[in-house]
């Protein structure tokens, strides 16, 4: 699976005086890594345009760190190639690659102070203007006053910024960030996300950000690649991935989805008709990610906030059929929204999120309701795929 992504390349051409930058981006071709008998990364293809903020999203153990380490040169690929612009760097030594890493645990040098930590890369390359460069970089991450402290004397968030500064100062062609925010609390995490995004826009470098936090990936990145068990499941702009997932894993891992069993009835122009538990629903064919021959089994997917509920017999603002016979089985009032579980006649519980606009009363547990949605929001997935892939509830029957 190889997709070239057209990402906004705001600062891509911005060379910042280093010279020789091709602006060709980072390309991985059938990159594979095997540890003994275990394949951590399976024939990965990725194209990351230069200047973009690229997020690699996936559950723990899916091979994200291994991929980054191969790009950084800290792990040798079993097969495949890595090219940066026109240059094949697959076998290049790590210290020769124009790539720097912000490590998962920061890996700051404990015996050097903050200034020397940040200056490390420049000194190794015998740069002459070390002092002003380091001071400027420390100012960027707002740590000027901490220059003479040791890493152990800083807070977690400050250490994280030192790690960022230490890598950024080298003006690498690609900056790799391996879950740099993993150890921070939620509030600090939010502000660091904004900070990193701001810095990326400012310096215009290519950032490859690894995370297993889908919200982080979606808020920060231009392009998100969802990785699972060593392969990329889907890649694209965050909204595109969220609105039109291609696999059950992506549908469940990025936000939540209702996946309802159905059978394809046939195509009618641009839409696919599906017999879903006795009700015929339509799905735009651009959102149907399977063979749409009649009789094919499928999952009809719909996001909880796209599901509309109404009192029995009430008109719902959605074209097409509404599905009768739902009974509210659970109500959780969250404040901005209310989350309902609606038990459908075929036994499945659908999740429904409704904004608290105040225009209508809350439903109570046990009430009967009708359910519907606008066909443009539904998506259709292959029934071969596990409906619980990518959920934390994979132990429950779907």
């Amino acid at each position: 699976m190889s997709q070239v992504v057209e990402a906004p390349t705001a600062g891509a051409g911005d060379d910042r005086g280093t010279g020789g930058r091709t602006g060709g981006g980072l390309h991985l071709r059938s990159l594979t890594k095997e540890f003994a008998s275990f394949t951590a990364v399976k024939s990965l293809d990725l194209d990351i345009p230069s200047g973009s903020f690229f997020a690699l999203l996936g559950p723990s153990g899916c091979g994200k760190t291994t991929t980054l380490r191969m790009v950084a040169g800290l792990e040798t690929p079993t097969s495949g190639t890595i090219t940066l612009g026109e240059r094949d760097i697959t076998w290049e030594k790590p210290y020769r690659r124009p790539v720097n890493t912000v490590f998962q645990n920061y890996a700051l040098f404990p015996h050097l102070d903050i200034f020397e930590n940040v200056a490390f890369g420049l000194r190794r390359r015998k740069r002459s203007d070390v002092k002003p460069a380091v001071e400027q970089m420390l100012a960027l991450v707002e740590l000027e006053s901490q220059a003479r402290k040791k890493p152990a004397q800083l807070s977690g968030g400050q250490q994280q910024r030192v790690a960022l500064a230490r890598a950024l100062i080298n003006n690498p062609e690609v900056l790799l960030l391996d879950e740099p925010l993993g150890a921070l609390d939620l509030k600090l995490r939010r502000s660091m996300q904004i900070e990193i995004k701001r810095i990326q826009t400012e310096v215009g470098l290519t950032f490859v950000h690894v995370t297993h936090d889908q919200e982080e990936a979606m808020t920060m990145a231009d392009t998100v690649a969802v990785m699972n068990a060593g392969v990329i499941e889907q890649m694209g702009a965050p909204a595109e991935l969220y609105e039109n997932p291609r696999t059950t894993f992506v549908a469940n891992f990025l936000g939540q989805s209702n996946l309802i069993e159905g059978t394809v009835a046939g195509r009618e122009g641009d839409v696919v008709k599906v017999d879903m538990q006795g009700t015929v629903v339509s799905v735009p064919s651009a959102r149907a990610h399977l063979e749409t021959t009649a009789g094919h089994r499928a999952w009809v997917g719909i996001r909880p906030e796209k599901v509309l509920i109404a009192e029995v017999g009430e008109v719902i603002d959605a074209p097409g059929n509404s599905i009768p016979g739902g009974v509210i089985s659970d109500v959780s009032f969250v404040g901005v929204s209310t989350q309902y579980l609606v038990r459908m006649p075929w036994g499945q519980e659908l999740q429904v999120f409704e904004q608290n606009t105040g225009r209508r009363r809350l439903f109570r547990t046990g009430e009967s309701v009708d359910v519907s949605w606008r066909p443009d929001y539904a998506f259709l997935l292959d029934h071969e795929q596990d409906a619980s892939a990518g959920t934390d509830r994979s132990d429950l029957p779907s």
Partner: protein, 305 residues
């Protein structure tokens, strides 16, 4: 009375560190109670014997073991000791320094390999490092005497390779004594080095590589400075007992390789010259103390984490 003082200063354990300058809690008395057993032990077995050693070194040299000695504040003992025995004293420091340097090189490579490369053989290799302690120091040194003997395979091989002349030998040479010292004290170097190197996060070395440091540069900028605490304690644990050692020089050397420990032992047990032996012991102790202080200062270990 002098039983405990017959040992050369360095070879009895606690010389350089009478109670480490631990950060004691201010109000809380627990710390003092915990110090008590160690402090008592040191008072009985270090301070008292040291006082008696100091006293011995100032006895009237005219006395003898049989007649007894008078306390006459005879500082002249120190002058005599230096005049007569400065050669073995300097030789001891020299042998100790060379042996320590060799131990450091061999020990660092070994400790590094155990810490970073041994994988599942780590524990086995550590046990092998301390395995020599399962037999006595004396027995091990005697077996080196067999190993290096004139018609032994080591000498034969070296003669065959023309490293040694046809009638060249190893026993009774500085090489044999230093080799013995290196062999006997290597574990004291390896263990602290290993403890230090093993604590180094390999990801720091990777980070150095990621930041354009070649492996060689990465070693000197990251691994070496982080292992300095082990280097300092390892060299001290090797140098101090090596300088005071007399077994190796006695079994593997000749009078030409006499170290200060041999002189002191000889003066105490054979010549019965207690005052000069005492003076030499005190001098050796102070000398090592000064060297250690200067060294620790220079190494700048207080700056390390």
């Amino acid at each position: 009375m002098t039983a405990t003082a017959t040992r050369p200063a360095g070879s009895s354990a606690p010389t350089p560190e009478p109670a480490p300058p631990a950060k004691r809690p201010r109000r809380n008395l627990t710390g003092y109670w915990l110090l008590l057993p160690g402090a008592l032990w040191l008072a009985v077995f270090f301070v008292v014997p040291f006082y008696s050693l100091l006293a011995t070194s100032l006895y009237d040299p005219g006395g003898s073991v049989l007649e007894g000695y008078d306390m006459s504040w005879a500082f002249g003992n120190y002058v005599t000791a230096i005049q007569e025995y400065w050669r073995p004293l300097v030789r001891s420091l020299w042998y100790g320094a060379v042996a320590t340097a060799i131990c450091l090189v061999l020990g660092y490579v070994l400790a590094y390999a155990i810490a970073f490369k041994a994988g599942r053989w780590k524990n086995l290799m550590l046990i092998l490092v301390i395995a020599p302690f399962f037999t006595s120091f004396l027995v091990r040194t005697l077996s080196w005497k067999l190993l290096l003997r004139d018609d032994g395979f080591v000498v034969d091989t070296l003669q065959f390779l023309h490293v040694l002349g046809a009638d060249g030998r190893l026993l009774a040479t500085p090489v044999a004594v230093i080799a013995g010292l290196v062999y006997n004290f290597l574990p004291f170097m390896v263990l602290p080095l290993y403890a230090s190197i093993d604590k180094i996060d390999p990801r720091l070395v990777e980070a150095a590589g990621d930041l354009y440091a070649r492996p060689f540069v990465g070693f000197f900028k990251v691994t070496w400075p982080l292992s300095l605490p082990g280097v300092v304690s390892g060299t001290l644990l090797t140098f101090i007992p090596a300088v005071g050692d007399y077994i190796n020089a006695q079994l593997l050397g000749s009078p030409g390789q006499r170290m200060i420990g041999n002189v002191i032992q000889n003066l105490f047990t054979d010549a019965g010259d207690y005052p000069v032996a005492g003076a030499l012991s005190v001098m050796l102790m102070l000398l090592i103390l000064v060297l250690v202080l200067v060294y620790v200062r220079r190494a700048g270990t207080e700056e390390l984490l």
